[in-house]
């Protein structure tokens, strides 16, 4: 009886070994899963006394996704949604520019984000560090195309191979939009345009 059990184990041994290794590899590489950012739009911006008094059209026609990451961690929808929420938080009057039409005549400036960089580093082992980093370039220009303000802003979150990638992605996006809000509100360049008129 004992001998029969040992024989069965010996037969399955290599298979079990290979399976366990494949599981570990699958865990590290994401295993073909798709991790989506949180569906809630980020809203925990610090309170500001007053919005910037500028009529802004949000132009979402520049790329907000990178093909390499779109099937693994699609961020386009979250970036679009949060860009609109951020613009409405910062500026007094925000409309969304239609993708193919000319910009609204009433807009004094056009705000346009572009995803420049996205990465999730693979941890060397389960408890080892993994980083999610995002960089977005914000461009504010006059309706005639002249640049007013350009700024690349980065967001980052750190975890391990055991961290929930969805939570890490959400944290990186929060960091990105908090820093973006700070950059827009604190730059004297946009305030100068608001004071002088576009």
């Amino acid at each position: 009886m004992m001998r029969r059990q040992r024989t069965a184990f010996a037969r399955r041994g290599p298979l079990l070994g290979l399976a366990s290794l494949l599981i570990v590899v699958g865990l590290f590489s994401g295993g073909g899963c798709t991790y989506r950012p949180p569906s809630e739009t980020f809203s925990k911006y610090p309170p500001r006394e007053k919005k910037l008094d500028l009529k802004v059209a949000l132009d979402l026609s520049r790329p907000l996704s990178l093909p390499k990451w779109e099937s693994y961690m699609p961020v386009k929808d979250a970036l679009e949604r949060n860009s609109l929420a951020l613009a409405r938080h910062v500026f007094g009057d925000v409309s969304q520019a239609a993708p193919s039409s000319a910009e609204p005549a009433a807009a004094e400036a056009v705000l346009s984000p572009q995803l420049l960089y996205f990465v999730r580093t693979t941890p060397a082992s389960g408890p080892a560090e993994s980083i999610i980093a995002i960089k977005v370039e914000w461009v504010l220009r006059r309706p005639d195309g002249q640049l007013i303000w350009v700024q690349t802003v980065g967001g980052e979150s750190r975890g391990t191979g055991f961290s929930d990638p969805t939570e890490m992605l959400g944290a990186a996006l929060e960091d990105l939009f908090l820093r973006s809000e700070q950059a827009m509100v604190e730059t004297p360049v946009i305030r100068q345009v608001v004071r002088r008129g576009p």
């Binding site: 040992r6 024989t7 184990f9 010996a10 037969r11 399955r12 041994g13 290599p14 079990l16 070994g17 290979l18 366990s20 290794l21 494949l22 599981i23 570990v24 590899v25 590290f28 590489s29 420049l116 960089y117 990465v119 580093t121 693979t122 941890p123 060397a124 082992s125 389960g126 408890p127 080892a128 560090e129 993994s130 980083i131 980093a133 960089k135 370039e137 002249q146 640049l147 007013i148 303000w149 350009v150 700024q151 690349t152 980065g154 191979g161 730059t187 004297p188 360049v189 100068q192």
Partner: protein
């Protein structure tokens, strides 16, 4: 019988390896890099209150400390660009697209925000094959892919990105210059930056010369 013993041995070996994979290796750390004030750099120029400094990095130990890979061996010269605006009334827009490296004879595009000096695709291929070929290779594969990604992320993270500098503001980042094959020690180059006035749109051109020393 011999086969059974081998099966047991493989099984007994693979489980600790799997555990060590889960517990053992640490990811490579993204190196920190300290940037000084623009006046601390020897090679600099100023126009309309906008000060630019460049520092090409030729020292292999410094490159390794900053990037964890020898970029020069791959034909890429990292050049630190530091910009500071001391103009009280003007703001300047700096964009990688408006930065070039010029030499007396040739002009090469300087800015490559995401150079692919270390290919993670190769690492991934190795990892897939490693599962079937040998266990030590698998461990090396995961570590190599992880390290390669950290190195690439570090390069991208430290690159120079678009920015707008109001009075008193500073920006810094590396330009990754693919060195021309005919470059020799003593060759003269210059970083050419077209900074755009945020209010008027006027372009201010700054040239920062440096010498190739390798």
């Amino acid at each position: 019988m011999r086969l059974r013993h081998r099966g047991l041995r493989v099984s007994a070996l693979s489980l600790p390896i799997a555990v060590s994979l889960a517990m053992g290796c640490a990811s490579m750390k993204v190196p920190t890099f300290e940037v000084k004030e623009v006046d601390a750099y020897a090679i600099r120029t100023e126009q309309d209150g906008l000060i630019l400094a460049v520092q090409p990095t030729f020292e292999p130990s410094e490159i390794d400390r900053t990037f964890r890979t020898n970029l020069l061996d791959k034909g890429v010269l990292p050049i630190l660009l530091v910009a500071e605006n001391h103009n009280p009334s003007r703001a300047f827009i700096l964009q990688p697209d408006a930065i070039e490296i010029a030499s007396a004879d040739t002009r090469a595009r300087a800015s490559e925000p995401r150079p692919t000096v270390s290919s993670s695709t190769q690492g991934e291929v190795m990892m897939g094959a490693g599962v079937l070929i040998s266990l030590p290779l698998l461990i090396a594969g995961i570590k190599m892919v992880s390290d390669s990604e950290v190195i690439q992320h570090n390069l991208a993270d430290k690159a120079f990105y678009s920015t707008t500098l109001a009075n008193g503001q500073r920006a810094r980042g590396f330009l990754y210059f693919r060195v021309p094959k005919d470059a020799s020690p003593g060759s003269r180059y210059e970083v050419v930056v077209d900074a755009r006035d945020a209010m008027t749109g006027e372009v201010v051109r700054l040239n920062v010369p440096f010498e190739y020393r390798r």
